[in-house]
């Protein structure tokens, strides 16, 4: 029998985890990446990675609670079995990372230190300085380098994935890839292809994502027939440093230590901020949320900053949206604790935030949605049936998806420090899945396929390249990208309404038409980055349509998808009896909303744009319940909901255990 071949596309945490685990299992892997894998976007993750640990366990923490926090944080939009399995694997994953040399921070005794992150009561998060993602990526990169030295892995770095090769039955039999230096195209036969190509932040122009996060690879398999799910769920981080090329993250700890958010009351007041007297400053978070002040939950902070700049036009600068995040009033010792992040600001803005308020704005950060993947539930544990060929398998047979590129783990909103976990987890578990898949390949192996299948695939990509390179027109791809990003950022991020979303859908369609007239300024056949970018722009436009249409159709508020016209009005009464009645009406509205909208958005590519349908969500482990943080009457709603929901044992048990913590 011919040697079986697996191609992994993308060398971030997920791709590397899959590669090293496959290599250990004796499966040869060809790893394709647009950049040397050590430069993948996972390096940008700062905070840490979550797992139940010895310490939290003694405080009553369990894997079940990690599951509960994750699905509650995600507003119950994710299938629960894969999340349960992930949370159970988390302690083992941290141990593995520890063993392969990730320099996690230590306690004086030499144990791993943990910190607390949003959305939980426990210190679950292990971290390595302020660069946990970088340190984890390096450790996995090192493991894969070892397998490369042993001949189990072949890396094709500076190679770009152009598309899957599908046979007449729609099975994935390999990929076409292109050398980004020589522009040579090659078809690689593969019995399984694993896509680990991350998120699509560049669809929004500038984001916290790296330049390679175009969503190009996801767009290419989507166009080839793979389903894309929950595309409209895009997480926006409240505080980032707006840059001319990128929006760099500014950690929440700045507010945690007492940093205050404000804008001048006079629009675009051009005085030195330090000379603006307190009375002329609008501390809008403190005024609007006296109880929480600057430490309102992430989504609320994001929405308010957005509102102040977009709706009220109170942005600090006229041409650029931003508000002040002010740590100048903090005592020196407190500022010192923030040194790490203040240095980032200083380095990139050239301004010392200890003496001048920082200018910050929310930034697109993470895509909860992604390519649809399957899973097989284990009837006994309620988790996954590990090794099932269905796990992480897209609807295209032979094409698997892991990491941020899949839609599986974070539902409507991702908890901090869960992304590194889901990347490594999905990477590790895809290995036994592939082993079983390779044992029983339907309709023979890739080696059995005729050469014409692969030659034809190369030819069609070459044709497309020639066409694009010689395209006649006057549209500038970079300017078109800026327009796309502006439209998506203005209309499809934080606060959504159907009027704007309809406009966005139309605008994107126009951009798609204009893309047909795109003109390349570089027509050479060597290291043509102009071409590579323009090709990816086509995919960004396709994904933009998926995201915008999904958002337009979803008439509710869930997780990060905030559409005020469909929000359930919060109870207003002060009198307990009236409040209870209002809470009951609220809960009934919530139940109706879930009956209608607790479902995954499924998008399929057609010539006329995305075709949207819906699939039910497996919430068999933990019954959905309202997220009431910050709502008036939250306690009453919780109480009423528990009464209404008593029928479901699991839901009641969780609610109960939660009320004890």
């Amino acid at each position: 029998m011919a040697k079986q071949q697996v191609v992994v596309i993308g060398g971030g945490l997920a791709g590397l985890a899959a590669t090293m685990q496959l290599a250990e299992s004796g499966v040869h892997v060809t790893l394709i990446s647009m950049v040397p894998v050590k430069r993948s976007h996972s390096v940008c993750a700062q905070g840490g990675i979550n797992s139940v640990n010895t310490l939290t366990r003694q405080q009553g923490d369990t894997e079940w609670k990690h599951l509960d926090d994750t699905v509650y944080g995600g507003d119950f939009l994710q299938h629960q079995p894969p999340v349960k399995e992930m949370c159970e694997w988390a302690p083992r994953i941290i141990n593995l990372l520890d063993r392969i040399g990730v320099p996690f921070n230590r306690t004086p005794e030499g144990l791993r230190d943990q910190r607390r992150f949003g959305g939980t009561l426990y210190k679950r998060t292990a971290f390595a300085g302020a660069t946990t993602g970088q340190q984890m990526l390096y450790a996995l990169d090192e493991q894969v380098r070892r397998w490369e030295a042993e001949g189990m892995v072949e890396k094709l770095e500076y190679w770009e994935f152009l598309g899957p090769v599908l046979d007449g039955n729609g099975h994935c039999r390999g990929v076409v890839a292109q050398d980004m230096f020589s522009m040579e195209m090659r078809a690689l036969r593969a019995d399984a292809v694993v896509l680990a190509t991350g998120g699509c932040g560049l669809v929004f122009g500038r984001s916290t994502n790296s330049l390679i996060c175009t969503g190009g690879a996801a767009g290419r398999v989507y166009r080839a027939g793979a389903k894309y799910a929950n595309g409209e769920f895009i997480q926006v981080h409240p505080t980032a440093i707006p840059g001319t090329d990128k929006l760099r993250l500014m950690s929440e700890s700045a507010r945690g230590e007492g940093g205050r958010v404000w804008v001048p009351r006079k629009p675009q007041d051009n005085r030195d901020p330090m000379s603006i007297p307190a009375a002329e400053r609008y501390y809008f978070l403190e005024e609007r949320y006296p109880a929480y002040g600057n430490l309102v939950p992430r989504d609320i902070a994001t929405r308010e900053i957005f509102d102040v700049c977009v709706t009220q036009d109170l942005s600090v600068e006229p041409g650029r949206m931003c508000v002040y995040l002010d740590v100048t009033e903090l005592p020196g010792a407190t500022q010192k604790k923030l040194d790490g992040i203040l240095e980032i600001y200083e380095k990139f803005q050239g301004v010392d935030p200890r003496h001048t308020p920082m200018k910050i704005f929310p930034a697109v950060h993470y895509s909860m949605g992604g390519l649809w993947v399957d899973y097989e539930r284990d009837g006994n544990s309620g988790g996954l049936n590990l090794g099932s060929p269905r796990n992480q398998h897209s609807n295209v047979p032979g094409l698997f998806v892991i990491g941020e590129a899949d839609y599986q783990y974070h539902g409507g909103n991702r908890l901090g420090a869960n992304s590194l976990l889901s990347c490594v987890f999905s990477g590790l578990i895809v290995a036994p899945t592939l082993e079983n898949w390779l044992k029983s390949l339907p309709r023979g192996s890739a080696e059995d396929q005729s050469a014409t299948l692969f030659d034809g695939a190369i030819d069609s990509h070459k044709q497309r390249m020639d066409q694009l390179i010689n395209n006649q027109g006057d549209e500038n791809p970079y300017k078109l990208h800026t327009e796309l990003g502006d439209c998506m950022t203005r209309q499809v991020t934080v606060v959504r309404n159907n009027k704007d979303l309809r406009l966005a859908v139309e605008t994107i369609e126009k951009i798609e038409q204009r893309y047909q007239h795109v003109h390349l300024s570089d027509r050479s056949n060597w290291t043509n980055q102009n071409f590579s970018f323009t090709r990816a722009l086509g995919d960004m436009i396709v994904l933009a349509r998926v995201i915008a249409k999904g958002a337009l159709l979803r008439d509710e508020c869930r997780g990060v998808h905030f559409k005020p016209e469909f929000a359930i009005p919060a109870p207003q009464a002060d009198d307990p009896e009236t409040l209870r009645a209002e809470a009951r009406r609220w809960c009934e509205a919530f139940r109706e909303k879930n009956e209608e909208w607790l479902k995954s958005t499924i998008s399929r590519h057609t010539a006329d744009g995305p075709d949207i349908s819906y699939e039910p969500v497996d919430t068999g482990l933990i019954n959905p319940r309202p997220r009431t943080y910050g709502l008036k009457g939250a306690e009453m709603i919780d109480e009423v909901w528990r009464e209404m929901d008593k029928g479901n044992a699991a839901g009641a048990a969780v609610a109960e255990s939660e009320s004890k913590t």
């Binding site: 950049v35 063993r99 996690f104 760099r248 380095k347 500038n476 980055q529």
Partner: protein, 252 residues
């Protein structure tokens, strides 16, 4: 009228082509860095003398100085383009900023170079922790905060190439493995499990292209964007290889 400045870029179409200079007028923007400048050129690639040209090829990825991709020689100093701010660069050289590719690696096109040799060197020094397998066998070894404080800075090496660019001993004509690889060897030799391969790494460091080729110019530590104590690593490697050789002579 908006402020502008000039950027002079060393260009080279292909590895076999000649190098030549092109100059661009750039409209100044607040907070501008060099990756933005190169993006602006890409969007409107017209030189100062009104010649339409191609976008400048360059590597860039994270744009926050953690990936190492956008390393190039800016105003004569090797550094990352993303964290090189126009304001500061214009203070160094008024009115014009000069960009060149790194000189220690083959130029692919314009400012893009192929740093593959650096990654190959990491294979040579076995820059990894060799574990039994990826199955669950509990936590890793205990590590004191002091050990972690030593390891973490070394572990932040982005393989960007600044240190070897500045190193007088490193070139495509010599076999010196360079400061980054030596420092990585020290990182893994200090790890409780990684130290099992200690002698293999020291053998590499004592062979041709190893520690003996270091000329002690100390340039590396001055240009490292992550302030990695590379010269401390080199000094440590010097001591460890001496003892290693002694052990070899006396048959361990």
């Amino acid at each position: 009228m908006s402020k502008s400045f000039q950027v002079k870029v060393m260009r080279q179409e292909k590895p076999s082509s000649n190098k030549h200079w092109e100059t661009f007028d750039i409209t100044y923007e607040n907070g501008m860095n060099m990756t933005t400048v190169l993006q602006r050129i890409a969007a409107a690639p017209v030189t100062t003398d009104h010649q339409t040209t191609t976008p400048v090829a360059f590597d860039a990825c994270c744009l926050e100085e953690v990936c190492g991709a956008c390393t190039m020689v800016i105003n004569g100093r090797v550094r990352q383009a993303c964290s090189a701010l126009v304001d500061k660069l214009l203070d160094e050289s008024a009115g014009v900023i000069e960009l060149r590719p790194m000189t220690k690696f083959p130029v692919v096109r314009d400012l893009t170079v192929n740093r593959r040799a650096m990654f190959d060197t990491l294979k040579k020094v076995k820059a990894w922790v060799h574990v039994d397998g990826y199955h669950d066998v509990g936590p890793g070894p205990r590590v004191s905060p002091k050990q972690q404080d030593t390891a973490y800075p070394l572990s932040r090496c982005m393989t960007c190439g600044c240190c070897v660019e500045a190193c007088p001993q490193f070139s495509d004509k010599t076999s010196f493995i360079g400061p980054a690889a030596i420092s990585q060897a020290m990182l893994f030799n200090a790890h409780p499990t990684g130290s099992n391969d200690r002698d293999d790494r020291l053998a590499v460091l004592t062979s041709v292209g190893g520690i003996a080729d270091c000329g002690n110019s100390q340039n590396c530590v001055k240009v490292c964007p992550k302030e990695i104590p590379l010269t401390d690593s080199i000094a440590q490697a010097g001591r460890d290889t001496t003892f290693y050789k002694l052990r070899q002579w006396f048959g361990r």
